[in-house]
Symmetry: C3
């Protein structure tokens, strides 16, 4: 892994840890709880990815820089959360960047482990949304990613794109970076325009 | 795997996906949430089974027909759920069939992976009830399988039966199919007669 | 594994199963639900540990004595829970002992599997707190270990101690037993003195 890839990966970890830490602060969890939920939000998706492709121990346990980054970001949120509110737009932008990045790296890692295309797309998407699922389950919420907004579908579209690029031998740093940037942009556009996925028509009242 | 086995397996996947999709529609999740909960309900038990026996990537990611079936069934529920209510008896019968089938295949797969007998029974049961657990946790409910009705105990009894059949060299397509049919029948009888497992006596009011 | 180690391990399993069974009885789960939550509370942490270090099938499925002990302890709670209330201090002491024991064995097992030091500490802590997390998620609660009291931090401190002992070649039965005893003592002292971890300052009312 190059230095720039590692740096980008750790930025994604820090951003997702901050989102988990914020949710935990809002639920009045203690300092340990905030660090734990931050760790799960940042690294839960990657742990699931590594377990299902048989890459054990998962990167979250094999490379101390991941755990340290996640815990440091969560603890920072614990102390700084009132200020965080003022930079919430920045956090949303970083979260969208994390979404793009984790989808690309998760899909690539699954394809490298010889997972077939459809499975690799699902694993890439799970890498990106798994942390948010863990964060919401640990704080007693129905996962927000299942409820509204265009989020997971961006990850799925990105994972399909990465898989197609790899199949056609066109996966290289510029094309993969472009895929991550486009995903980030679509996510931000969906936020800005308040796009939502459809909800089923409710059944008639009994 | 023979064609008839695969067909039976995919019917189980479709039925459990429909149960997950229905629960997600009831919670007003969006289209993606419905597909995701359907996927987890159909394939969550099998993913856990494959991970604990070291068969990675799990079948849910290795064979695209499983994911496609789960997603197609969930999305169908999203559009058809008012009609689904009228066929709810059919769904319960299919769910009972899925219970029998997943227990048999899960227990066999664990025994094939050289898991000892007691562990294989537990894994067979988890294959059958794991999806329902995932469905309920994702939709913010205490798992119904832990609360009432004769469901998991049917799976456990079936898993023990399959293990005994294998130990005595009597496991073949007719005996295994019979085990699945008996489990389906017991489950339906329990539903029809409203059999329940006992609940502990509440402690005296403080 | 020596006989005394196995006995100590099974005592930990029984105690955590009793804590899970008590929580399930309190939620009015049926007999199966009580056994299942007890199993998850006793063996969930160890299953996660074994999966992330690639030791499959996990001990919970590979050695029938673990599952049997967990289920027997849960079922005993189902029948005896009013009496259990009178011995709740004993249960808290045993739970503290389980915390110390599971941290030591979990950390050692991760180091044996060549997990780097930071990852081994995290896995040792997860072994000790994972069962409690599973118990609370299955019964619809935000995990208590994330909310208050000095519990997980004791596990983390113990895991660091064990890792340091191993690195300096000082890990042997007396030193490891001492580590477990000190952890148990700190946990009991924290309970007795009602020590709590800090909670973040709430944000100003909107």
């Amino acid at each position: 892994m190059t230095g720039s890839q590692l740096a980008a990966d750790l930025i994604g970890v820090a951003v997702f840890a901050a989102s988990g830490g914020s949710a935990a602060v809002g639920k009045r969890l203690d300092l340990f709880g905030v660090a734990f939920v931050g760790f799960a939000a940042a690294l839960g998706g990657g742990i699931v990815r590594d377990v299902v492709i048989g890459s054990v121990p998962p990167l979250a346990f094999a490379d101390w820089r991941y755990a340290l980054t996640a815990v440091a970001a969560s603890v920072a949120v614990f102390w700084l959360h009132p200020q965080l509110y003022r930079v919430r737009r920045t956090v949303l932008v970083l979260d969208a960047a994390g979404l793009g990045l984790f989808t690309v790296t998760g899909t690539l890692k699954a394809l490298d482990a010889h997972v077939p295309a459809v499975g690799a797309c699902l694993i890439g998407m799970l890498t990106a949304i798994g942390g948010g699922l863990a964060r919401d389950l640990l704080t007693g919420e129905i996962p927000v990613v299942l409820q509204r907004e265009i989020y997971a579908i961006v990850a799925l579209g990105g994972a399909v794109t990465v898989t197609v690029l790899v199949r056609f031998g066109a996966a290289n740093l510029p094309t993969l970076a472009l895929a991550a940037v486009v995903m980030t942009g679509v996510r931000l556009l969906a936020l800005y325009r308040r796009w939502s996925a459809p909800v089923a028509v409710p059944p008639p009242a009994p």
